[in-house]
């Protein structure tokens, strides 16, 4: 490092590492997939019906694994309940336990109510352990009268509606957690919760589109193109918003040129030159933006559309991951001395290391697989089996 680089002695170590990049990523995926469910159940976007159930189970699978990165990060995970027993009224992080509990109970209830008719039928048809499981999941009720279904419909709509602010807080508080740290000039901005939320929606919708296309391809099933088209249109809308806010943040600071500006500029043009400008902005933002424009505005052949929809989804999933990396880890590279930058070296076998990241990213898919055996993911398959 050159002679002009000075990092405060306590700033040499990066405390919030890959687990803290992964946590917002996972809750972001939850938010984005919940948005699709909300658009169907609350706003009545009929074309999203094929994904309506999948999006809920997907959200549930990812939410169930969302706390693991945090447990791996805490110095004292065995004391994590302290956040709920003695939460601090001024700390964004103390809301974590409560909002997570509310969110998982809510999504769990929504899934149970949406699937109730299916689960009741499965209870009557299955035997042994599965029968007991379905009995529990249906609250030991086999009543599928029109009144009960109408009640369910109203409650589902209500729950999904309150789910929208809950999902907003679930991911928005993470944005505020960063945005409220005045000590770090690259984090403290009122735009942080907004940027986090919109990019969360982008990642969730991309994940759903990719998963849908890939699963259908692997199981040799047809893809509902109208559904994918709607998703791509919504994705484009959210991504334009997310990208605009991200760039607005950078350019306002560049223009305002306040006291700490030179340190942030030095960060983006120095240690983060490749991960931010080259990868996050050019390759994973500008390029997908052009691709999305093309996909939304032009009529394309089904196979071409599916291929590029999947490609754009992969690029945007990468964009959101890079954005989390550049904010969380990138932000800590800049020393509070405003005179230098430290380095981050990801370890393979650390408790917050690369292997852990891979395992924790794969875990939600395993949960999704298990859940798919209990909750049939696709309406077409259900219709076919009943």
């Amino acid at each position: 490092m050159d002679a002009l680089n000075f990092v405060f002695p306590n700033d040499l170590h990066v405390h919030w590492s890959m687990m803290i990049v992964l946590y917002p990523y996972l809750t972001g995926l939850v938010d984005g997939s919940f948005i699709v469910a909300a658009l169907y159940y609350v706003f009545g976007v009929k074309s999203l019906k094929p994904l309506s159930r999948f999006s809920l189970v997907f959200a549930l699978a990812f939410l169930s694994c969302a706390m693991f990165p945090l447990m791996m990060h805490l110095g004292r995970p065995e004391r994590n309940q302290n956040m709920m027993i003695t939460p601090s009224p001024t700390s964004a992080m103390s809301g974590a336990g409560f909002i997570f509990t509310v969110a998982i109970v809510l999504i769990g209830l929504i899934v149970l109510l949406v699937y109730r008719p299916t689960l009741v039928n499965l209870r009557l048809k299955s035997k042994g352990v599965m029968k007991i499981l379905y009995r529990v999941l249906t609250m030991d009720s086999t009543n599928l009268s029109p009144e009960s279904l109408e009640l369910d419909r109203k409650i589902i709509k209500f729950l999904v509606a309150i789910g929208i602010p809950v999902a907003t807080v679930l991911h928005g508080y993470v944005g505020f957690l960063f945005g409220g740290v005045k000590a770090n000039p690259s984090w403290s901005t009122p735009l942080m919760p907004v940027i986090f939320l919109f990019s969360a929606c982008v990642s969730g919708i991309s994940a759903l589109v990719l998963a849908y296309i890939v699963i259908k391809k692997l199981t040799n099933q047809p893809v509902d193109l109208a559904c994918v088209r709607t998703c791509i249109n919504i994705l484009a809308g959210f991504f334009i918003l997310a990208f605009s806010f991200e760039m607005l943040e950078v350019f306002s600071h560049s223009y305002l040129r306040t006291w700490y500006h030179h340190a942030v500029e030095g960060l983006l043009n120095g240690p983060l030159l490749y991960s931010f400008w080259v990868w996050q902005v050019v390759i994973c933002s500008v390029l997908p933006l052009l691709l999305l424009g093309w996909l939304c505005l032009f009529k394309l052949r089904a196979s071409v559309f599916k291929f590029f929809a999947a490609t754009v989804s992969i690029m945007l999933l990468l964009q959101v991951l890079l954005m989390r990396w550049n904010v969380v880890i990138g932000g800590q590279l800049m020393s509070k001395s405003t005179r230098g930058y430290t380095q981050f070296h990801p370890e393979w076998f650390d408790k917050e290391g690369i292997i852990t990241v891979i395992v924790l990213m794969g875990l939600p898919f395993i949960v999704l697989f298990i859940l798919s055996k209990i909750f049939p993911l696709w309406l077409e398959e259900e219709k076919a089996s009943s």
């Binding site: 002679a3 306590n10 405390h15 805490l74 004292r76 004391r79 409220g180 005045k182 000590a183 006291w259």
Partner: protein, 268 residues
């Protein structure tokens, strides 16, 4: 070295007499009951008005002043602090920074090992003529509006009614949010206890009427600590006379109780 001569012997006898008298007087302190245990009856008090009285939690106010013009970068403070608290190597409750300025107004700052070994050699990686050099000791600013307390999710770091910001090591979950929130980088995560730690202005010493250890060992009196309720204390006088005292990162709105005298414009 060498035999002491007669004159020295006389002085020694006089001195021993004085010390014995002092010890007798000091041993009276053994009789005075101390509110928190009787751990240190044999160490004479350094901050007057604390021993033998009930600690009035709500009305105590202390200030810490660092005089940059006196700091010689010896690092005694860093050594004493590390030994007082068994701070692990690579982590710092207090540290000393060295600032060099050349004739083109470039500023070079370093803090090798936090100044723990002192500054024994000039900077080897700079090849310019040095115009000016000064040392800046850093420690917890004991903010009156601490951002670390604001962000702690479990109430493990808190501001006491007597104005000290402490860490409850039994409650801390090691999330490191407070470390991110401190604008002065005063905090660190202890790799052994896996909880957050920071300088506490030697709360355990102050409660027993002793100065913080870094203040105690500073050979040039660059570090000053005192009771603001005591109008005769040096810190009270400095804060109430026409001295120019500044704080670090004033724009952060943390209102530190740590003041700097003679702080240079290059210091962040």
């Amino acid at each position: 070295m060498g035999k002491p001569d007669a004159g020295l012997d006389k002085e020694r006898r006089a001195f021993i007499k004085k010390v014995l008298n002092g010890t007798v007087a000091g041993s009276l302190l053994l009789v005075i009951p101390m509110p928190i245990g009787a751990a240190t009856p044999e160490i004479k008090e350094q901050i007057p008005g604390i021993r033998g009285k009930k600690w009035d939690m709500a009305h105590k106010r202390f200030a810490f002043i660092v005089d940059i013009t006196l700091c010689i970068g010896c690092g005694s403070c860093c050594v004493a602090d590390r030994l007082e608290y068994n701070v692990p190597a690579g982590y710092y409750r207090t540290w000393v920074e060295r600032y060099l300025k050349d004739f083109n107004d470039n500023v070079y700052v370093d803090s090798p090992n936090g100044g723990f070994d002192g500054y024994q050699t000039p900077r080897a990686d700079i090849d310019v003529e040095v115009r000016d050099t000064f040392f800046v000791p850093k420690l917890c600013n004991m903010c009156k509006e601490p951002p670390c307390v604001q962000v702690c999710p479990v109430g493990a770091t808190f501001k006491t009614p007597d104005g000290f910001i402490l860490v409850d090591a039994a409650r801390c979950v090691g999330c490191a949010y407070c470390i991110q929130a401190c604008p002065y980088s005063s905090r660190y995560l202890d790799p052994f206890t896996r909880t957050a730690e920071k300088c506490t202005w030697c709360y355990h010493r102050v409660r027993k009427g002793l100065l913080p250890i870094c203040v105690n060992v500073c050979p040039t009196k660059a570090r000053k600590f005192g009771d603001l309720n005591d109008k005769n204390s040096e810190v009270y006088k400095l804060l109430h006379e026409h001295e120019v005292l500044t704080v670090l990162k004033k724009d952060m709105g943390t209102y530190p109780a740590l003041y700097y005298k003679g702080l240079r414009r290059e210091v962040v």
